[in-house]
Every structure is written in structure tokens, then in C-alpha cells.
Amino acid sequence: MNTLRDKYCIVGVGETEYSRSSRRTTRAMAVEAIRKAILDAGLKAADVDGMLDYQGGDSTLANSVASDLGIRFNFYMDVMGGGSSTEALVGLAMGAIEAGMCNTVAIYRSMNGYSEFRIGGTGARAAQPVRGLDLAQVPYGMRSAGQNFAPTFMRHMYEYGTTSEQVAHVRVAHSKHASQNPKALLKERVTVQDVLNSRWIVKPLHLLDCCLETDNATCIIVTSTERARNLKHRPAYIMGVAGRVSKPRLDFHWAHGPISRVAGYYAKDIVFPQAGITPEDVDVTGSYDAFTFTTMLQLEEYGFCKKGEGGAYVSSGIIELGGKRPNNTSGSHLCEGYTHGMSMVIENVRQLRGTVDDYCPRATDGVHTYDYSPGHCRQVKDVEITMNLGWAMPATGSALIMRR
């Protein structure tokens, strides 16, 4: 196994406010998030010589945001992609540095995902003409992410007896986590019954099974361990990464079953051997919550429980703060705000540093109460290893394992 384990790190993280009305451009937001990440790392703009970003025709390219910050590139690339791009671009950043192309790479995502190009598919996205491969689905009123993913969950329910009640616990856990997060858009804790009583969007998904369209920008900075030694924070060392691993027949993944199988089935065999660990060694997970069930599907596919037992796993208390292996401790896409995955990597970096930005008065100094009652702490004790499970869709995913 060819591995770059511990040779690269994430040294800086930053984000804008999460809102439903940014009232500014994706350029302005990207610049703010990148600037914060550079300052967080203890770097200067001139130290950043690489940039990667991802988008779906809804954002600003690297050339203009870099100029705003006075950055001159030795390497940059704008990539088409949504969820699961963060982890993949971390791997590409490592590769660019390893190849000698550049030294330090800022990765960003910026979107007005509610006020401009709604991620849920209404407005501008719904009005796009239908051509090519889209003809196989969109004319049937199947266009949004929820509509594209729901038959996967339905088939999982059929095959394994998974229930709406079980996956509702993902929302319950993430709302608990968001109640400890000053940045979160939805800080109120919800119950299983709240999820089940919320209106149907596309069966089997209720409104509260769905994530929260948000305006925001996010950024992380990747550099070599050697370079990280003199920087501000304890680095988050990258142990393993798998980027946009896919199932067969990506043109129409329904053709290759079982459709309840997701890309983690393949990605796990790349990322765990690189890191030299097993799921049992992971303290905190960041399983992408575009929907409650996407968190569940990935956790079981990566082996945190047996295939088919994801419903039991997410409803057992394991994934909540105070449980054995909390998932998405920021509240993430369901409650904090939708970022196309970057925020879940940011959160795990902060968990590894021990400086999660909760309501503890001295949180930024790494002093926490570990009181998980509402409005207090969300730092997990003694986090050694975190893992992100990035989701683009059932057939494409990424993974990232980090340690402190």
C-alpha cells in the first residue's frame, strides 16, 4: 500500500456566517473564509501558493478570490463537484505538494445555497433545460437530491427492515450537537416524534430528514507536516484519504445493485489500509448528512456496524455527544448549515485540536466542561482519530482519516 500517512496536515480552517440571506457575492464570502483560514493557520497570504475549489456553476472561481487576497499561484484548479469533493481535494492537494508543484493549498467552497442557487433544486436549478442523461430521470419529476436518493433508502427499508424512526435519531443527535454550536442555524433540539410529524417531502423522507439550504463559504488549508511545525495550531495529520470512489455504471447507478449499497463499499478498502486502522479506532465520525439516511448508509458501509444494521447503530445513542463515537458534532448539514461537506472536516480538525467553538467560556484555549446539556459543551474528550465520510450520491463518495 502506497501511503503518505502523516506526511500532510490540515493547518488552518475558516468559515463565514451560516445564513439564509448573505446579501453578498460568493466571491466576497470565499475571500472572508480563506482569509480566516490563513490567519487561523498563522500564515500570510504569500505563504499560500495553491488553491482548489469546487462548485456546480454556482460560485466564483479561484482567480478572482486569490487576487483579492494578493495570492500568486504556483498551482490552482476549479473543479466541478458537490458533496464528497472536500476529501477528494485534500488528496489532490497532497498530490500537488508531493509532486513539487506548490507548498500550501487553500481549498474552498462558496455558495448562496439558499438565496441564489437553491441546493434543494427549486428556482434556477428547476428551470434548467433537460438533455442528455438527465432525460432518463428528470422528465419524471425526479430532479432534486432528495428525489434522486429516496429510492435507495426505500430499497434499504425493504431489504433490511430499516425504519423512519431509526434514522430520525440522526436528526435528534445532530440537533443536540447544534444546540452547543453558536454558529448553527437551527439550535433547537428535536425529538424522533418531531421528525416523524414533519411534512413529507419525498417519501420516505420527511422535512426534518433533509438538510438545510444555506449561504456560506468554507475553507481548509493543507500543507506538509514539515511546513506545519512552525504554525499556530496542533496540526491535524492526514492518515488516509479516498477521493470520489464510485460504484459501477455511474451513468445510471440503478443498473448495478444492490442499490442499497453505496460507494463506501469500495472506498473503505482504500482508506483504512492507508491509515493502518479499523473503524474501532475512530473516536469521532463525520458521516455526511445530506439526509438522515445518508449518514446511516455510510456508517454501515464503512463497517462501523454490519451491513443492514445501520438503523440500529444510529438509534443506539452511539452517534450522540456522550456516546461511544459521536457523529457530526457541529450539527452539520441537518442543523448547522449546508456546506457540501467542508464544515464536517473543519469540525473534526477542531475536535482534534481540542478547541471546538462551543459555549464553554475558554473553548478557544482548549478548556472544556464536557457538559452536554443544552447550551454548553460539544468537545469530545481525548479525540485521537476522526474520520469523514463524504457523500456525493449513492454511487460516489470520499473518505478522510485524521489524527492529532
Binding site: G120, G121, T122, R125, A126, P129, V130, R131, G132, L133, L135, A136, Q137, V138, P139, Y140, G141, M142, R143, S144, Q147, A150, P151, T152, M154, R155, M157, Y158, T163, R199, W200, I201, V202, K203, P204, P248, R249, D251, F252, W254, A255, H256, G257, P258, I259
Partner: protein, 168 residues
């Protein structure tokens, strides 16, 4: 070049140079459901792809299929995204497994098609009648002189395998 077909507020665009879909929809307009069959290995595939996903051969012919199959999975859209679908809610989107080539070339593969489950007048089949395992057949919804959409409707045949629908 044919004008875009307007359907429920969407522009469906199938230009003359659409080497994957143009003939597919011409067959559909003649009420034939066709898939591509590889000239080399004989396996059929949907949606239309340029090369064979199993042997990479570029040779293919259109092959008409029976249009009979079974509901493999489904969803019920309660909140429509596209404005033209709002009046139809709740409507079913179904993933149909066709009878031809089930479990080939590997046990997990099949010819599967996305469509709506409709009544004879192309309005949505009531939700209570939608279930995994139910048998269906293709019907064609004519949209223009050169285009029809394959849709599926329930048949009287007994269910295939375990019949299941979302509880509640």
C-alpha cells in the same frame, strides 16, 4: 433540428446530433421500448450508452424489449421541485426492473428504468397501489410528433417476490 419539446414546464432537448437519445425517442413515439444490444457480447443496456459497459465494443443495435417488469424501488413525491409537477402531487417515481436480462451478467445487475407509475390517462397511480414487487408494463405518453415518454402502469399479474410498501 426539432424544437425543444415542452412538457410540464420543462424544455426537453433532443437535437439531431443526439447520438444516444434521438432514435430512442423515435422508437418510443412508435410505442416501442428499445434498449441497446451489444453486437459483440449480446448484452443489453439502458440508458443508451455509446460503448458496451461490459466489453467496450462500439457496435450495437436497437433491441425492442417486452416492456414488462417489476417495481424494484419507488418514491412518492409530496413536495414537487419543478413547478409543472406541483399539481400532480403526490406522484410516484418508480424504478422498474425489466424482465429481460434480470441478474445478468452478474446477480446484482439488471435492465432498470425510471418512470412514473400512471393510470391509463397518465395521471399518477394512487399511492396506496404503489409497492415493491408489483408487476407493470410500459405505456407511452405522446408529447410531440417525434417524441413520446415511456411510462409504466400496473398489470393484473401476481406480485413478483415479496410485496412491500412504506408503512403508514
Amino acid at each position: 433540428m426539432p424544437q425543444p419539446v415542452q412538457y410540464r414546464g420543462m424544455a426537453l432537448i433532443v437535437p439531431d446530433n443526439d447520438s444516444e437519445w434521438k432514435e430512442f425517442y423515435e422508437h418510443a413515439r412508435a410505442h416501442r421500448l428499445v434498449v441497446r444490444k451489444c453486437n459483440a457480447c449480446g448484452l443489453m443496456r439502458y440508458p443508451p450508452t455509446h460503448a458496451c459497459p461490459w466489453c467496450m465494443d462500439l457496435g450495437w443495435t436497437w433491441q425492442e424489449v417486452s416492456g414488462r417488469g417489476t417495481i424494484y424501488s419507488y418514491e412518492i413525491v409530496a413536495h414537487a421541485i419543478q413547478p409543472g409537477f406541483k399539481a400532480l402531487t403526490p406522484y410516484a417515481v418508480v424504478l422498474i426492473e425489466l424482465d429481460e436480462q434480470r441478474g445478468k451478467p452478474t446477480a446484482d445487475e439488471a435492465l432498470r428504468v425510471i418512470a412514473n407509475l400512471v393510470q391509463p390517462d397518465f395521471t399518477p397511480e394512487p399511492e396506496a397501489n404503489v409497492a415493491i414487487g408489483k408487476r407493470v408494463r410500459v405505456v407511452f405518453q405522446d408529447l410531440a410528433d417525434h417524441m413520446a415518454l415511456p411510462q409504466f402502469t400496473l398489470t393484473e399479474e401476481p406480485a413478483q417476490g415479496r410485496l412491500w410498501r412504506l408503512p403508514g
